[in-house]
Symmetry: C2
Subunit: 457 residues, 2 copies
């Protein structure tokens, strides 16, 4: 009798089907390639860090998972006090602290891998999910050019991942917003939270919330600022004007509230200018957007979000920004950085659900080799070694099943071609090459097989 086990994945710990996984792996390979083409080094930190270190850099104890052994042996305390990483940024800070003297600055690293958060289980929220992060960390200083470069890397990635899909990187500068908050005499944390939720609430709710906070003498000026921001958002072409000096003037007016806002505006203009003029990025792929706050994060300057045009309800698929202090608490040193993170698991699960990505193929094999006669079996094994040496993924069907069943296997896995070898083909030194999509079959001589495959694959 069989014991009853609940074999489903634990709540919040998803897994892909083979066909989805194939897409996920391709995306990771592309992301990794672009990161490396831009000189970012791969760094893999442990899944597990000391609990106190994670808590000291903003870890939420309600969401943090700690590690325990089921049976703890007495006297072995080395298993206690550790917790699972909830992002890649705190581990980056620890990595820099651990290896400070071996590293060269600016330190450009990428990290791709799972992080764990014990959040409430709900649709679209995962307790384990992959994040793909890049960060540049400077020692003492870090040029603003890095802020533009990081956005350019993200643009390169989405151009390759979704060439048909329009997307836009939205950029703001936190100093503009904290400048407004200071001008209004509002706590900047409070202001950023409300500002960040602007698009999640109705205009009335938003106005009501802020109106309660804004001192009566400044309501008019604040309405001007809001109108300005909203107008820009609704008329992105303002930013796409080739007359950047004009945009500069407009913006400067906006930034004149106080020194902080002016500095933020200046930085935002610089980043956009480098993107447009020096890196040659099309203004269709990025825009300043004053609505972005990234309220709950530790950013101090540039902030980014990325949206798929036409699918804004997916939210930001890639976010980040500049921070003044990566690891001072661990290193005693000033280490400013700028980084961005693709929330891969969440993004892919949304794209799969919206059927924006084809998932019709499970197997990497381009060819399944099938033997139609016992005598051909040896030849079929040798043939797969040969085809593999030409660079194509290929497998043999090794079980003793009817041909129909073997074709069925190729179909189910989405393997595009089947090669059949029987006694006839052995004698004639040829193979039957069947295209599984359109169903036609050709006889190809062994001499020309490589050339034929090169054309088709």
């Amino acid at each position: 009798m069989m014991a009853k086990f609940n074999t489903s994945c634990p709540s919040g710990f998803p897994e892909w089907t083979p066909a989805q996984e194939r897409v996920a792996q391709k995306w990771i390979a592309t992301i990794r390639d672009v990161f490396e083409k831009n000189g970012f080094m791969p760094i893999t930190t442990p899944l597990v860090e000391r609990e106190e270190n994670l808590l000291s850099k903003g870890g939420n104890p309600k969401e943090m998972y700690v590690l325990k052994r089921i049976l703890d042996e007495e006297g072995d305390s080395s298993h206690s006090g550790n917790a699972l990483r909830f992002d890649h940024t705190v581990p980056l800070a620890l990595y820099v602290a651990r290896h400070f003297n071996e590293l060269s600055f600016p330190f450009r690293r990428y990290a791709i891998g799972p992080v764990l958060r014990g959040e409430r289980a709900q649709k679209g929220r995962f307790r384990q999910f992959d994040q793909c992060d890049i960060d540049v960390v400077g020692s003492e200083n870090l040029s603003l050019k890095n802020d533009a470069m990081v956005a350019a890397v993200i643009i390169q990635i989405f151009e390759r991942l979704m060439p048909e899909q329009k997307f836009i990187v939205r950029i703001n500068n936190r100093k503009i917003l904290t400048g407004i908050a200071n001008f209004l005499n509002i706590s900047s944390q409070k202001f950023l939270e409300i500002w960040d939720h602007r698009e999640k609430v109705t205009g009335e709710e938003f106005n009501k919330k802020l109106n309660e906070l804004v001192p009566s003498g400044k309501k008019e000026k604040f309405r001007e600022i809001c109108d300005f921001a909203i107008t820009q958002k609704k008329n992105p072409n303002v930013w796409h004007s080739s007359d950047w000096e004009n945009w500069f003037d407009v913006h400067k007016t906006f930034g004149m509230l106080n020194k902080e806002s002016a500095e933020g505006a200046e930085e935002l203009i610089t980043v956009c200018r480098i993107l447009r003029n020096d890196l040659g990025i099309s203004p269709k792929q990025f825009e300043p957007d004053f609505s972005i706050a990234r309220g709950l994060d530790y950013y101090t300057g540039t902030v980014y979000e990325t949206h798929l045009v036409g699918y804004e309800s997916l939210g930001s698929i890639c976010s980040g920004g500049r921070y003044d202090d990566l690891a001072e608490v661990f290193t005693g040193k000033k280490l400013p950085g700028v980084g961005i993170s693709i929330g891969l698991t969440r993004l892919l699960s949304q794209l799969f659900e919206a059927k924006l990505i084809d998932v019709d193929r499970s197997s990497p094999s381009e060819i399944l080799i099938v033997s139609a006669s016992e005598k051909a079996e040896k030849e079929c094994l040798a043939l797969s070694s040969q085809i593999r040496s030409w660079g194509y993924p290929v497998e043999n069907y090794l079980e003793d099943k009817k041909l129909a069943k073997q074709f069925d296997y190729a179909n189910k896995l989405g393997i595009p071609y089947v090669i059949v070898v029987g006694e006839d083909e052995l004698n004639k030194k040829c193979v039957q090459l069947k295209n599984m999509k359109i169903g036609d079959q050709e006889e190809i001589s062994r001499d020309t097989l490589q050339a034929v495959l090169e054309k088709k694959l």
Copy 2:
């Protein structure tokens, strides 16, 4: 004042330096490529599974890590009862159970990623380590050809990873050993354990241990078996004879102890024949070895180990075998499989320590672009976009530092070339290309730069 944090990695949770990580990523890419070239599908299961499922398939409660939240909210029980995976095999069984009706059999999957074991901390033992597994799982039956194919995949991998290094896949069949145990009337578990430790103890200790167990009337026959096994091990050329029929006879005699041993011998011969005759694998890359038992695992037929020739003290770098029952407890179905696993973290840490692998380069960048004048900065950014579009990893030095410092950065990261552009180069439409290894510098016109880089990179 700075609080004192212990920022070191928790005990047993290692991390690589950037240069080591670069090697690890290249190895993973090669392993992944060979797996896919052989038609294995990538599958990533969650890090976390239900505790009872892991325990039901041999999880050791003393080594298993469970997941807890630091602060558990009342009423949310969905965080309890979960533990971290300790291998990729139990998650494979669960994956098959979860997706049984969507999968096609034989199901060929690979898994690359970390597993966690709360072992005692000791040198060379890790609590988190990457394993790279392939398995083929059949429904009801699975041809013995798969056992040969799995060994062939491993041989392809190490040929690519370490082309200069001799390695050998050692193959045995568990049935031969359980047959010997039955013949001797010894519990096969006891016998396998001692047999498995043969190479870890002195000959005397080994003989003493077994002699205590072997009934007196069978001591002579057992001595014959041991002598035979030892002779084969010391004279591997016996197996390398091209006269496989002769080898077959020798082995058949050995396998005549009882039906079980004979069946094991027959299977072992078949696997070796397919490797040699059908897959064309050189007999220098594999050999039968009766000393292999894989004592603590669940194997029922073929077993594999892999050794680096000249570095046998590293132990087996890649092990596996055939099992009758993958997931009957979860599915109620008979699912035989065969698989093998590369213990990547342990292997690389040993190779790094033995200095068998060069780790002299941290950055993926082939070129660092350096601006020698403010006027050239824009050109330098445009140039890196262009070089990247030619397919080369490239980065700009973006900070305002002296040239010497920028060259130093390239040297430390092992970036092989630096391109310098100043006002002169702007005017002459050329660049200075410096080879960082040999130190020479050439002036290259922009028109010929792509051709020059193609030659050098």
